[in-house]
C-alpha cells in the first residue's frame, strides 16, 4: 500500500490528546493555527509517569484491522503532549494578493483543504486530499485531556485553585474559538499529602462550578496515594467514559458533512479558477467528497457497515458517468481520481474483511480491478501496458498486505488454513469461483509477483526510442509516449526500462521482494513444495540481475533438498538443474556444474539437442574456477544415470571356496549422450571381504557397442595404501542404455557375513575428480543373475548382495586302521591313525590328540611303523596340546601315526579327540582343521566268582605227647617257623570271559596279597593250563582250583585270620604274537583258622572192591577244651554201610579223629545221599555241620557222594 498516502489507507481511530503528563513539548510547528497553552506546568510525579505509560499503552493505532482486537481496551489514537498544542486553522488565510475580481461581496473563506480555496492543491476541481484525513486523525482531537496537580498546601490552595480555574477557562475559550468541537476533559492528580476532608470536596466543587465542567464526563479526580491498580483503573475510567462522547463528536462531524451533501449546491469558490482548466468541481464531485468524509467518520466511530455504504456510494459516484468519465484522461487529475477510486476500494475491502465478509471482499477486489481495467481500456492507455501490470501487481500486493493486517485467525500458522470457507451470507450451493474463497496472503503475493514479471516483460518490449530520458527525445515523441504508456503509480518509460547507462527501476529486486513475502507466508504454513517453486523463480530473478552467488546459494540448497527428485517429478528436477548449472557456471562453482551435468545425463530428463552431454566437457566455458573440483555424489542425492546392483550367486559360501558374484552396472543415459569412461569402480563390503576394485582398461573391442556385455574379471589380490584389495581390469566405458555385467570369482578367506555396501564410480580427469557412490539398496524387484549368453535367472532371495561365509570344510580325512571292536582293561591300547590328504594340493598338517574322561591316562603318539621313512615324524615327546607335526602330506597321500594309550586298570569310557590342523601349501593364510572323536569303551575281559571250602590237611597235628628237637637252625632263619595248626583249603575260581572274541588264557594264578592274623600261607595251583594256553570263548565259564594251606604261627593263637588274595589271569588276544596282558581280579576276603571244632567228610574209592566207597568223617578240635561228641549214622536205602552206627567220641584239646565208614551203594553212576551222619556236641547240644571236601556236594539235607559208574569190562 506504499503508493498511497498513509492517511488514505490507514484505519481511523478517535484522536485523544493528553496534556500535562509529558514534561517536554515538541518544538512548536510553524503551521498556523489555534494555539492552546497553559501556564501551569505539567504534573511531575511518579503517578503521572505511570498514567502516561498507561495512556501510551492504550494506543490502538498498531492493532490489527479487525473488530476482535478493537473491541478491547485500546480504542483511541493517543497523542501525549506537555502543555502546548496547536490546532490547525479552520479556514484558509485570505489570499495575500487580492483576487482581481469584480465581486462585490467579500470573498468567502473555506477550509484550507477544500477545492474552493485557491491555495489548496485541490483547487479548483480536486476531490479530496490525504491532508484532510491527517487533520482529523493526527491534529484535531475528539477530546483534549488536561492533567493538573491538585495542591495539598492549605496556604496556597486558594491561589492555586484560582489559577487552575482560570487556566481551564482559558483552554475552554481557546477550543471554543477554534471552531472545533473538541471536548475538554480535566483530570486532577492530588498531591500525596492531601488529607481526605470536606475541604477537598468543597474545593473540587468550586473548581467544577467555576469551569462549568460536567462532573461525570469531563472532570476526574485521582485521590492521593493510589495503588497501581487504581491508577490503571483511573485511566480506563477516563477512556471508557469519554469514548462515547468522542464517538458522538465524530457523529456530529458526520451530520455536518451529510447536511452539506444533502444541501445539494456547489459552494462558490473563494476565487474562480483562472489557470488550467476552468472547470470547478461538479456537484457529483462534491457528493463523492462528502461520501468519503462520511465514510471516514464512520470508520472513526468503528461503524464499518455505515462506512462501506458511504464509500460504495462515493465509489459509484466517482466511477459514474459524471466524474471520472467526464474529465480528461491525460491530466494529472485523472490519476488523482483513479487513486481515490483505489483508496475507496481499499477502504471498502478493509471494512468488508473487518466484518468477516471474506468472499465479498475478494469479489469486490476483482470488481474494482475489472472496472478500472474497463476504464483504462476505454479512457486510459489500455490494459496491455507495463503500467497496468504494475497496478495489477500493486492491487494484489495490497490485498495480501491487507489480509496480513486484518490478521484472520484461521490463517494463523497454528490453524494453517489455505483458504477461508465461504462466508455465511453466501447461499449454500451458490456457484463460487475458487479464488473467491479468500486465500492466505502468500497466494496474493505470488499473484503479485506474476504480474510484476509480466510488467517487466512488457517493459522490456518497449522500443528504444521510447526509453530516452526527457530532453533527449524530440517533443513529438514525448507526446506520443504519454499517449502510449500509463505511468500511474509507476515510473515513466525512461526509468521503467532505462537505456544502457542510465539508472532505472529494478524489476528483479521488486519481484524477489514480492516472492520473498510470498515464500515467508507459504513457509509458515508448511507448503514447502510451493516454496521450492518460488525459490526457483526467485533464483531465476537473481540470475537475471547477474547476482550469481545469490542465485547459487538458493539453487544449491534447493537442488540438494528438493522434494521433486525424491518424488520423481523429473521435469521439475531438470528445471532446477539447468538453473543451478547456469548460476554455478557464472559463479565459478565447478562442483555444482559437474554434479548437475552428471544428473542431467539421465534419460528421465528431456534431451536438449544443442547440448553436448559429455561429462568430460562439463567444465568448458567456466572461467572463474578457483581450484580443481572434487565432486562426491551419492545415489540418494542425485538421479544418476549409472546404477549398480551387486549379487552373490549363492546365499552361502565356504572359506577357501571361490565365490562368484556379479556387479551389474546399467547406464540409463540419454541416447544422445557421449559414452562415459569411468576410471575405476570400487565395491565396498561390510564384513570379511576385501574391497573390490575394477580398473578401466580399454579392450578396444568393437563388440563394446552391444547393449549388454558380460565380462568375467580375473581378480588379483594386492595391498594398496595399507589395505588389501582385489583388483581386476575391464573396459569401463558405458554407452547410453548399456548394461555391463562383471562377474568375479573371489576366494573366501574368513567366515562371517559379507554384505556389499556400495559401488563408487571414480572419474579422474584433468579438470575435475568425480566420485559417484552408489549404495546398494534393497529393491522390490528380485535381483538377477546373468549368464554368459545373456540368459538371466531371478534370485529368490530378499537380499542378494549379502553372503554368509561358512568355515572351510576340511578335506583331510582322518581314520583309524585296525581298530579293535573292543578294548579291555590291563591292555596297552594302540591305535593306528591315518591322515589322508584329499585336498587338491599338499598340506602341512599338525595333529592334536587328547583323551578325555575320568582318570584319563596320558597319550603318546609315535610314528607309525608303516609311515614312509621320509616322514619327519618320529616319536614325539612334545606337548600334545600343541600338537604333533605331521609335516607335509602330499595331495592324495597319507601319513600314519600310532596313538598309544597305556593299560587302564579300571573299566571306563573315554573320548579320544583328534584334531588335524593344516594349511594348504598354495594358501598358507587360511587355516583349516579337521577333527574326529572316538569313543573308547574299556571293559574288563574277565569276571570270576569263587568258592572257598575246607580240606583235610594231610599232615598230622602236633601232639602233646610227642617231642621233637629243634635241629636245623638255618631253616629257622630262612622261614619263620610256624608251630600252629595247619589247615588246608580249596579256592575254586570260576571265571568267565566278557570279551567279545576268543582270548587265550596263558596262565592263571592266585597271589596272596595280604594276611591278617599271624599265619603263614601258601597256595598251589591244582591243575596247570596247557602250554599253548587255554582258548576261552566269550561267555564261557572256566574253573581253576587252588590249594591254600595255612598254618598258625603259634599254637596258642586262637584268633581268627583272614586272607586277601587276587586272581591273576594272563591272557592275550587270539592273534599271532599278541602281547600277554595280566588282568588281576580281586577275590573276596577269605576267612581261615577258626578255633571252633569242625567236621570234615572225605570220600575215597576202594581199589580192591570196585563198588565200595570209603567215607571218612574227621572231627577236628582246635580248641583248648575237652569235647564230647555224639555220632549217629543213619541207614539209607541207597547204600549199605559198615562202621559205627552210634557212638560217643571224646576229643582232647588240639586233636582230631577220623571215623571211617565203608559204603556199598545200591546204585551206580549217580549221587547217593544224603548221608545222615549227625555229630552233636554233647556239651553244647549243637549239631556240627559236616563240611564236604572233594568228590562231594552238599544238598539241603546233607552230603551227597558221587558213585562212579560201573566200569565196562
Amino acid at each position: 500500500m506504499d503508493g498511497y498516502a498513509p492517511a488514505f489507507v490507514a484505519h481511523n481511530l478517535p484522536l485523544l490528546v493528553v496534556s500535562g503528563l509529558e514534561t517536554l513539548d515538541e518544538p512548536r510547528s510553524a503551521t498556523p493555527g489555534t494555539s492552546i497553552t497553559s501556564e501551569i506546568p505539567s504534573v511531575e510525579s511518579d503517578d503521572a509517569q505511570v498514567l502516561l505509560g498507561h495512556f501510551k499503552a492504550n494506543d490502538a493505532s498498531d492493532l490489527a484491522w479487525n473488530g476482535r482486537e478493537h473491541s478491547r481496551r485500546n480504542k483511541f489514537r493517543v497523542k501525549t503532549i506537555a502543555r502546548e498544542y496547536t490546532l490547525p486553522m479552520r479556514h484558509a488565510a485570505p489570499a495575500a494578493i487580492p483576487q482581481p475580481t469584480s465581486q462585490i461581496s467579500k470573498p468567502v473563506l473555506h477550509s484550507a483543504l477544500s477545492p474552493l480555496t485557491p491555495s489548496s492543491t485541490l483547487y479548483p476541481d480536486g476531490l479530496i486530499d490525504a491532508k484532510w484525513i491527517e487533520k482529523h486523525q493526527y491534529h484535531v482531537p475528539s477530546a483534549y485531556v488536561v492533567f493538573y496537580t491538585f495542591t495539598s498546601n492549605p496556604n496556597l490552595s486558594s491561589k492555586l485553585d484560582n489559577q487552575l480555574k482560570s487556566d481551564i477557562n482559558n483552554i475552554k475559550t481557546t477550543l471554543c474559538q477554534s471552531g472545533y468541537k473538541t471536548r475538554l476533559v480535566v483530570a486532577l492528580l492530588s498531591e500525596n499529602s492531601v488529607v481526605q476532608s470536606p475541604d477537598v470536596e468543597d474545593r473540587l466543587a468550586n473548581i467544577r462550578k467555576n469551569t462549568g465542567l460536567d462532573s461525570k464526563t469531563s472532570f476526574f479526580f485521582l485521590p492521593p496515594q493510589s495503588s497501581p491498580v487504581e491508577l490503571r483503573t483511573f485511566v480506563d475510567t477516563i477512556t471508557s467514559t469519554i469514548y462515547p462522547l468522542c464517538i458522538e463528536y465524530y457523529r456530529d462531524l458526520s451530520k455536518h458533512a451529510r447536511r452539506k451533501r444533502n444541501r445539494g449546491i456547489v459552494p462558490p469558490p473563494t476565487a474562480p479558477p483562472t489557470s488550467g482548466t476552468s472547470q470547478t468541481l461538479s456537484s457529483q464531485g462534491w457528493n463523492i467528497r462528502y461520501d468519503f468524509k462520511l465514510g471516514v467518520f464512520s470508520e472513526f466511530r468503528q461503524e464499518m457497515d455505515a462506512a462501506v455504504r458511504s464509500y460504495e456510494s462515493g465509489y459509484e459516484g466517482l466511477l459514474g458517468p459524471d466524474v471520472l468519465e467526464a474529465i480528461a484522461s491525460w491530466g494529472p487529475r485523472w490519476n488523482e481520481y483513479r487513486l481515490l477510486a483505489d483508496v475507496l476500494a481499499i477502504r471498502i475491502l478493509r471494512c468488508l474483511l473487518w466484518n468477516g465478509n471474506s468472499t465479498t471482499a475478494v469479489r469486490r477486489w476483482q470488481q474494482h480491478r475489472e472496472r478500472i481495467r474497463d476504464f483504462v481500456d476505454r479512457r486510459g492507455k489500455g490494459s496491455s501496458t507495463y503500467g497496468w501490470e504494475a497496478w495489477e501487481a500493486r492491487w494484489a500486493t495490497i490485498m495480501g498486505e491487507m489480509v496480513v493486517k486484518v490478521s484472520i485467525s484461521d490463517f494463523a500458522p497454528e490453524n494453517g488454513d489455505t483458504y477461508l470457507p465461504p462466508e455465511k451470507s453466501i447461499a449454500i450451493g451458490e456457484r463460487l469461483r475458487p479464488w473467491e474463497l479468500l486465500h492466505h496472503p502468500g497466494y496474493w503475493f505470488f499473484t503479485a509477483s506474476k504480474h510484476s514479471i509480466s510488467r517487466r516483460n512488457l517493459a522490456l518490449a518497449m522500443p528504444e526510442e521510447d526509453r530516452a530520458p526527457p530532453g533527449v527525445s524530440p517533443a513529438s515523441q514525448i507526446v506520443n509516449k504519454s499517449h502510449t504508456y500509463d505511468d500511474y503509480l509507476c515510473p515513466e518509460p525512461h526509468v521503467e526500462y532505462p537505456l544502457p547507462g542510465h539508472n532505472g527501476f529494478n524489476h528483479s529486486a521488486s519481484i524477489i521482494f514480492t516472492l520473498s513475502n510470498a515464500t515467508a507466508e507459504f513457509e509458515t504454513r508448511g507448503q514447502r513444495r510451493l516454496v521450492q517453486e518460488l525459490q526457483l523463480l526467485s533464483a531465476k530473478e537473481s540470475m537475471r540481475r547477474e547476482l550469481w552467488n545469490d542465485a547459487l546459494m538458493i539453487l544449491r540448497t534447493l537442488w540438494l533438498k528438493m522434494s521433486y527428485r525424491k518424488e520423481g517429478w523429473w521435469n521439475a528436477v531438470e528445471e532446477v538443474g539447468w538453473a543451478l548449472r547456469n548460476a554455478a557456471l557464472h559463479a565459478g562453482d565447478g562442483v555444482s556444474v559437474v554434479s548437475v551435468d552428471w544428473e542431467l545425463m539421465n534419460n528421465s530428463f528431456a534431451h536438449h539437442p544443442s547440448w553436448h552431454y559429455d561429462i568430460t566437457r562439463s567444465l568448458e566455458g567456466i572461467s572463474m574456477l578457483r581450484s580443481k573440483p572434487m565432486v562426491v555424489l551419492h545415489n540418494a542425492e542425485v538421479h544418476s544415470f549409472l546404477s549398480a546392483t551387486f549379487t552373490f550367486e549363492h546365499t552361502e559360501g565356504k572359506v577357501g571356496d571361490a565365490c562368484r558374484s556379479q556387479c551389474t552396472v546399467t547406464s540409463t543415459a540419454l541416447p544422445a549422450s557421449v559414452p562415459v569412461a569411468i576410471n575405476g569402480i570400487n565395491i565396498e563390503f561390510l564384513g570379511s571381504m576385501k574391497e573390490l576394485v575394477i580398473r578401466h582398461m580399454s579392450d578396444g573391442e568393437t563388440g563394446n557397442q552391444r547393449p549388454r556385455l558380460f565380462k568375467e574379471i580375473a581378480l588379483t589380490e594386492v595391498v594398496e595404501d595399507g589395505r588389501a584389495k582385489q583388483t581386476g581390469h575391464a573396459d569401463l566405458t558405458f554407452r547410453p542404455g548399456q548394461m555391463k555385467v562383471f562377474e568375479f570369482k573371489s576366494s573366501l578367506r574368513e567366515d562371517g557375513d559379507v554384505k556389499a555396501v556400495s559401488a563408487t564410480f571414480t572419474i579422474t580427469s584433468a579438470s575435475f575428480d568425480l566420485d559417484y557412490v552408489h549404495t546398494f539398496e534393497q529393491m522390490s524387484t528380485p535381483d538377477l543373475w546373468w549368464g554368459q549368453a545373456g540368459m538371466k535367472k531371478k534370485i529368490a532371495r530378499s537380499d542378494a548382495s549379502s553372503l554368509t561365509v561358512l568355515p572351510k570344510p576340511p578335506k583331510m580325512e582322518l581314520r583309524f586302521i585296525g581298530l579293535q571292536g573292543q578294548y579291555y582293561t590291563n591292555e596297552g591300547i594302540c591305535l593306528d591313525l591315518e591322515a589322508l590328504n584329499e585336498e587338491d594340493v599338499d598340506a602341512i598338517a599338525n595333529l592334536e590328540v587328547s583323551l578325555h574322561g575320568d582318570g584319563a591316562p596320558p597319550v603318546r603318539i609315535v610314528a607309525s611303523d608303516k609311515s614312509p621313512p621320509s616322514s619327519p615324524t618320529k616319536e614325539e615327546e612334545g606337548d600334545l596340546q600343541e600338537g604333533t607335526q605331521l609335516g607335509r602330506i602330499a595331495s592324495g597321500a597319507s601319513s600314519r601315526v600310532r596313538i598309544l594309550i597305556p593299560p587302564i586298570d579300571l573299566p571306563a569310557v573315554y573320548e579320544l579327540a583328534i584334531k588335524a590342523s593344516y594349511n594348504l601349501v598354495l594358501d598358507l593364510e587360511t587355516p583349516v582343521s579337521r577333527s574326529i572323536t572316538l569313543q573308547l569303551d574299556v571293559i574288563n575281559p574277565f569276571e570270576a566268582n569263587y568258592d572257598f571250602s575246607p580240606r583235610i590237611h594231610p599232615d598230622p597235628w602236633p601232639s602233646f605227647f610227642a617231642h621233637e628237637e629243634a635241629v636245623d637252625t638255618i631253616k629257622v632263619v630262612e622261614y619263620p617257623k610256624a608251630y600252629g595248626l595247619s589247615q588246608k583249603w580249596c579256592l575254586a575260581a570260576r571265571y568267565a570271559s566278557f570279551a567279545s572274541e576268543d582270548v587265550i588264557v596263558e596262565d592263571i594264578d592266585v597271589a596272596v596279597i595280604g594276611v591278617n592274623g599271624s599265619i603263614i600261607c601258601s597256595t598251589k595251583k591244582q591243575a596247570s593250563l596247557p602250554t599253548c594256553g587255554l582258548v576261552v570263548s566269550p561267555r564261557t565259564l572256566e574253573e581253576a582250583q587252588f590249594d591254600v594251606c595255612t598254618q598258625k604261627k603259634s599254637l596258642d593263637d586262637r584268633g581268627t585270620a583272614t586272607l586277601d588274595v587276587s586272581l591273576a589271569i594272563k591272557w592275550r588276544r587270539k592273534v599271532e604274537s599278541s602281547p600277554i596282558n595280566t588282568s588281576t581280579l580281586a577275590v573276596p576276603r577269605l576267612l581261615v583258622s577258626s578255633s571252633e571244632p569242625r567236621v570234615l567228610a572225605a570220600v575215597s574209592y576202594s581199589e580192591s572192591i570196585t563198588a565200595m566207597i570209603h567215607f571218612d568223617v574227621t572231627i577236628e578240635n582246635p580248641s583248648n577244651h575237652f569235647l564230647t561228641f555224639g555220632l549217629t549214622m543213619e541207614p539209607s536205602e541207597m547204600f549199605a554201610f559198615s562202621g559205627v552206627k552210634q557212638s560217643t567220641l571224646q576229643l582232647v584239646p588240639l586233636s582230631r579223629r577220623t571215623i571211617k565208614f565203608r559204603l556199598l551203594p545200591s546204585i551206580r553212576g549217580d549221587w547217593i545221599g544224603p548221608i545222615h551222619c549227625v555229630i552233636k556236641d554233647r556239651y553244647f547240644q549243637k549239631i556240627l555241620k559236616m563240611a564236604p571236601t572233594e568228590g562231594m556236594k552238599v544238598d539241603k539235607e546233607g552230603i551227597l557222594i558221587w558213585v562212579p559208574p560201573e566200569e565196562e569190562p
Binding site: 475489472e370 451458490e430 479464488w435 507448503q527 525424491k566 518424488e567 521435469n571 534393497q778
Partner: protein, 181 residues
C-alpha cells in the same frame, strides 16, 4: 467472450507422491494449454503440501474418510486444484481453468471472470477417474508396486494407453453442471 470452467490438467499421483500420469488439456481462446508441462508439474506437486496438511488434520479429527479433498487451493484467479485420494494413497488432482472454455455470446450474463463451481461438482470427475484407475488395476500386467515401490522412492509412470485415453475423455467431456462423465 464469456467462458466457463474446463479441466486444464489431470494428475494422477502415486503413493510415494510420484507423478503417475499427467494429462494436459488446452484452454480457450488460444486452444493451447495455459501452462507449460513443467509449470503444471509444479502446480500438481504443490498440491501435495495441502494433501499432507489436510491428512494430518483428518487424522486428528477423524474426517475425510471419503477421500474427497474438494478444493485444495486456487493457484490464482484462473486455476484451481481439486483433489481426491483413494484408500491406497493414490491421489487424483484436477486442475480446473475457470475460463477454460469459451461459450461465445450465450452466457454473457455470467460476469467477466467466468462461472463459478458448486461444492461437489468435481465429484463426478473423481468418480470417473477412480473407475478408470480401477480398470487399470484390473489389468494383470499393471503392477502397482512397480509404480509406487513400497521402499518409498519414485516409481514408474503409467503408460497404459487406455488409461490415458480415459483421462483424456474425462478431461475433455467434463463441464460444470454435467451429470456424468
Amino acid at each position: 467472450m464469456a467462458a466457463i470452467p474446463s479441466i486444464a490438467c489431470i494428475g494422477v499421483i502415486g503413493k510415494n507422491n510420484n507423478p503417475l500420469h499427467i494429462s494436459i488439456f488446452p484452454s480457450d481462446p488460444t486452444n493451447l494449454p495455459i501452462r507449460t508441462s513443467v509449470q503444471f508439474s509444479l502446480v500438481l506437486s504443490s498440491t501435495l503440501d495441502i494433501f499432507e496438511a489436510r491428512s494430518k488434520v483428518n487424522l486428528t479429527s477423524g474426517g475425510g474418510l471419503s477421500g474427497d479433498y474438494g478444493l485444495l487451493h486456487a493457484i490464482d484467479e484462473r486455476l484451481a486444484a481439486y483433489g481426491f485420494e483413494t484408500n491406497t494413497g493414490v491421489k487424483f488432482v484436477v486442475v480446473v481453468d475457470m475460463r477454460g472454455r469459451g461459450i461465445g455470446e450465450i452466457g454473457k450474463g455470467m460476469g467477466s471472470s467466468g462461472l463459478g463451481l458448486r461444492e461437489g461438482e468435481m465429484k463426478v470427475v473423481f468418480r470417473a477417474l477412480q473407475a478408470s484407475y480401477i480398470k487399470l488395476l484390473q489389468n494383470p500386467f499393471y503392477d502397482p508396486d512397480e509404480h509406487s515401490p513400497p521402499m518409498g522412492r519414485g516409481g514408474k509412470k503409467i503408460t497404459c494407453k487406455r488409461f490415458a485415453e480415459d483421462l483424456r475423455r474425462i478431461g475433455e467431456s467434463w463441464r460444470p453442471g454435467a451429470g456424468t462423465t
